[in-house]
Symmetry: C2
Subunit: 348 residues, 2 copies
């Protein structure tokens, strides 16, 4: 860092997450000397605003990273695979929001509330976990720390923005078409590059990302494998079912978990969440207080409620976890990693 | 039954379920001599069509059931509590779609594919289970029969029509308001009689029915208790999280279950569902085939897919179960109970 801040690059600046990254950098007053906005050649030439200044988006190339201190990537896995090593080679610290490097044993996969110590081992690339994973581990980590964690079964209720700006547009246009009794042709969801596309408006699609040979989707396997890596729990029993909903922003999760310790009450778990970093307890059934995606939009926190003890398993509990998937699930966690690198003295 | 059919009464005829009951009776060519349509005084006087004939809806009173053979109730628990015994006293067999009598040990709670033998013990009132319970037990029963069933953890994705015609209207009006950038005031969901109401359009509400002291909602406890009763499994370990979605019709469920037997594969479960009564297997990930609520509308069957073995528990499996909550979840199951009573010679 020079005296007046870092040279930051945002790759995928025109996307749903890229735009939230730029907003978050501004809102957090991140120490920026220079901001370089990069994208595919298709979006290059557009202008975006940062601190009331217009910045022209440039096509991302290896040379774009000369002199860059921090590069935030969110332009798809293939772009990251090609350009993140180029950025790292030129001395930038890459914080990558794609799945390209997440399971690479050489790459730290970090949620600052959970495993910021892993940042110390980085070799130029740091991976930002999958959106649905991040919010879950923020809620589970304080529980693991105090009571141990044996098993997790999660069913997700995910917003379309996780599939990008095109998916948000598809939800809006389809909803209008249905309300007006007009025809429409699904073209984006569940997976743009898969052969079949289905209606998302007033529907629920039990497929996020492509199917794997074991019958789970890649999104489900991301939740399973990333949770184990972030929490340093390779033996954790964990399963996921991931479902796309007609919600623009805000992922929700129904999480069943079993702890190691006996004699713990729902009240004990609530007390833990109350003081957990990055989490907010919204849990008062008598007052109908629980988290909902519509309330989470634009907020950095992970909201937790509906905490209750299983009726059969002494060590089993249920909870409902909600967060803005574009912020804590993506842009905010990436910027937070950058802030944490600075705090820990890991960025020069 | 006289030679030319039964005298059938539908109580709550103008409601979302009542209308589906009338349509289902017509579609199934149910042997009807006379159809009496009943409602609250508020809706009395409206006319509804059955087999191209206009029938005027009358206010439901004890005397309305004189001469009635079969009375299908779906007008809310308090109406059933008051009038179902009056109908039974006058010789009608009551099939009640409310929660009023479901857990009464004297009242059979029936899903014909699962426990039609229980009909033999009826004393004038038969209960139709909760919508979210019915579709789940249709999928679980063939599995229980062959492999035993130890544990169930379900997270639901429920349509607003489960809360009645007013809730469907609220979803539609709110969606329009949001798209047009207009103001709106939630007034029906999650529970009309609860103090607080929340946005359902583009949102997910983790409350269906009122909260109980144990932190579970009544809807969740219905799924837990009714499943045990219908499947004759008082010792079953079962938990539910019930969530309302911006979907008009069609409930979905993410179901984790553990069986008794070892060495069973996902393929074995798929083969069972393929030939299970009332169920349709829609499960081919390679072809992106899985059930979705939008596809279930207007169909009597329960659709099952995403069947896969848990990655940690040898006896654990996951599946995704979808059905039209107004049909198999309510109107069709009620009419099916009536048809089964006739088949079994239990209706004179």
């Amino acid at each position: 860092m020079t005296n007046n801040g870092f040279h930051v690059a945002v790759v995928g600046a025109t996307g749903a997450v890229g735009q939230r990254m730029i907003e978050t950098l501004e809102k957090r007053k991140f120490p920026i000397r220079r901001l370089t906005l990069l994208s595919s050649s298709r979006s290059a030439g557009k202008t975006l605003t940062f601190k009331n200044e217009e910045i022209t988006v440039q096509e991302a190339k290896p040379e774009s990273f000369e002199g860059v201190d921090i590069a935030l990537f969110s332009a798809g896995g293939s772009v990251s695979k090609q350009l993140a090593p180029e950025a790292a080679k030129r001395g930038a610290v890459v914080i990558d929001n794609t799945s390209a490097f997440r399971m690479d044993p050489e790459v730290p996969l970090v949620v600052p509330e959970v495993n910021k110590e892993d940042l110390k081992k980085h070799k130029g690339i740091i991976a930002n976990p999958n959106c649905s994973t991040i919010q879950m581990v923020v809620a589970l980590e304080p529980i693991r720390q105090k009571y141990g964690l044996k098993k997790v079964i999660v069913s997700t209720y995910q917003a379309v923005s996780g599939a990008g700006a095109k998916a948000i547009n598809e939800l809006n246009e389809q909803t209008k078409a249905i309300i007006n009794g007009e025809e429409f042709t699904p073209a984006v969801l569940p997976v743009a590059s898969d052969p079949k596309h289905y209606q998302i408006a007033f529907n629920a699609i039990p497929q996020i990302d492509k199917f794997q040979d074991n019958g789970f989707t890649f999104e489900e396997m991301k939740m399973i494998n990333e949770t184990k890596k972030i929490m340093h729990l390779p033996e954790l029993k964990i399963a996921a079912t991931c479902v796309r909903l007609p919600v623009a922003v805000g992922h929700s999760e129904s999480v069943y978990f079993e702890i190691e310790k006996e004699g713990v009450t729902a009240r004990d778990i609530q007390e833990l969440i109350k003081t957990a970093p990055g989490a907010v307890l919204q849990d008062d059934p008598a007052e109908q207080i629980y988290p909902m995606p519509a309330d989470s939009v634009g907020k950095n926190e992970v909201f937790v409620g509906r905490i209750r003890k299983d009726l059969d398993e002494e060590k089993g509990f249920h909870m409902w976890v909600v967060s803005d998937n574009l912020l804590k699930g993506a842009a905010w966690n990436s910027v937070q990693i950058a802030e944490t690198l600075i705090e820990m003295g890991l960025l020069k």
